[in-house]
């Protein structure tokens, strides 16, 4: 058995996924480590990878001319980083940098898309899970836009 299989099965993003689907995903996965300050991906890069974070924090960043680099979200252990692999034109919309030492599983985006196309049940399951993350982050972004603490 590939050693990544139990790691994938236990990660909150993939928890409960059918073992057969976990086995399919393992073929696209590899262990990665980023040191603090190391770039994970850059805005505009091809979105070749998708990460599930096991340890540490990653800052999702955007460079704002005149203001410098702004961190717009932090992705931590148990969360996923990047969904541009799923959405054409498969380019990174933001940059990401390790805020601490980060251990993650990296998935080859093209490999994942291919497996999802071949196995629609896997594709639907992954899409539902990514959609939940998107919904959570949209909700969080809306709360941030409200600037709730301006007077509190």
């Amino acid at each position: 058995m590939n050693t990544l299989e139990p790691i994938l099965a236990e990660h909150p993003f993939l928890h409960g996924l059918a073992p057969a689907h976990v086995s399919l995903l393992v073929g696209c996965a590899s262990n990665v480590v980023f040191q603090p300050g190391e770039t994970v991906f850059r805005e505009g890069d091809p979105a070749d990878d998708f990460f599930i974070v096991r340890e540490g924090d990653v800052g999702v960043e955007l460079h704002v001319p005149g203001q410098g680099t702004m961190t717009i979200a932090t992705v931590g252990a148990g969360e996923i980083l990047g969904w541009s692999w799923l959405v054409p034109p498969h380019r990174c919309a933001f940059s990401a940098r390790a805020a601490t030492r980060v251990r993650a599983i990296s998935f080859d985006g093209a490999c994942l898309r291919d497996k999802c196309d071949r196995d629609p049940a896997l594709g639907y399951e992954l899409l539902k899970r990514v959609a939940m993350v998107m919904a959570d982050r949209l909700q969080a972004t809306r709360l941030q836009l409200l600037d709730l603490y301006e007077r509190h």
């Binding site: 924090d57 999702v60 680099t69 961190t71 709360l143 941030q144 409200l146 709730l148 509190h152």
Partner: protein
């Protein structure tokens, strides 16, 4: 706790012993009894009516240590006429104080349980006394989590306290800001998201939540999603308080007067009420 002065409508004079600027617009006043006023024991979560003479009166939660009632501490933001007048006070200045009033955080009922404190913005101030009491009796509780969100790194309140609590090793402190420029090594995101990282057993957790009402609604939803019972989630609500003793009705929230029945109320009692804009 029965600690209201003989005439709850009569302010007692308290002298400013210390002023601390916490952030650009937030300050802490330590008050000492003046003119024969007696120290006022308080329970975590209670508030006082503070009177800036010649300007007006506002309800401000107590942010001090309940074990040290001789120093009456309030932390607030200068956002209105009265709080801006209070921000101009210096050591030796005098404020009128009525109180303490209102219900308390359930620190006694939470003994034996995991405790999750969720604060947004200045909402950390009313929760500080609860945490100080819990830490003074640390062995009586399970896991203790402090999840705190604010606007930017410059707005982080009680920075020294947060570092001290984190350094203890028996409190999980999760701090997040809504936005940050480079140089901030902490998290960026909203408090409900940060709650997902917190380690606690939902089945034996008591949660105490204080912050902007929208933030409290979403934090409560996340706690419920994790499995915390509605009756074990407590929030501190704000309404327009005037008399503070349940006479005038300005702070009515459905069947409750926030000054008398609150400000700390169980989520089970509030959940649907807070979704009614007319209330």
């Amino acid at each position: 706790m029965e600690a209201v002065a003989a005439d709850p409508m009569l302010p007692a004079p308290w002298r400013v012993a210390r002023v601390r600027r916490d952030t650009a617009d937030t300050f802490t006043l330590d008050l000492a009894p003046a003119g024969g006023a007696a120290p006022a024991p308080f329970a975590p979560g209670q508030f006082n009516m503070l009177w800036a003479f010649g300007v007006g009166e506002v309800p401000i939660s107590i942010s001090g240590d309940p074990a040290r009632p001789a120093v009456l501490r309030h932390t607030t933001r200068a956002v209105g006429t009265v709080t801006r007048a209070m921000a101009r006070l210096r050591r030796g200045g005098v404020l009128g104080v009525r109180g303490p009033f209102g219900s308390a955080w359930p620190t006694d009922e939470a003994e034996g349980a995991d405790v999750v404190l969720v604060a947004g913005g200045i909402g950390l101030a009313p929760l500080r006394p609860a945490l100080l009491r819990i830490l003074a009796r640390r062995r009586r509780y399970g896991r203790v989590v402090v999840a705190y969100g604010t606007r930017t790194p410059a707005d982080v309140l009680f920075r020294d306290d947060l570092q001290r609590w984190q350094a203890r090793g028996d409190v999980e402190v999760l701090v997040t800001v809504d936005r940050a420029a480079g140089g901030w090594a902490g998290r960026v995101g909203v408090v409900p998201s940060v709650l997902r990282l917190a380690s606690f057993d939902p089945a034996r957790t008591v949660a105490m939540v204080c912050g902007p009402e929208v933030m409290m609604r979403f934090a409560a939803q996340e706690l419920l999603r994790r499995g915390v019972a509605p009756a074990r989630i407590h929030v501190s609500v704000e309404r327009n308080m005037k008399c503070a003793v349940g006479f005038c009705g300005h702070c009515q929230l459905g069947p409750d007067f926030v000054c008398r029945d609150g400000p700390v109320l169980p989520w089970a009692r509030l959940a649907t009420r807070l979704l009614v804009p007319e209330v």
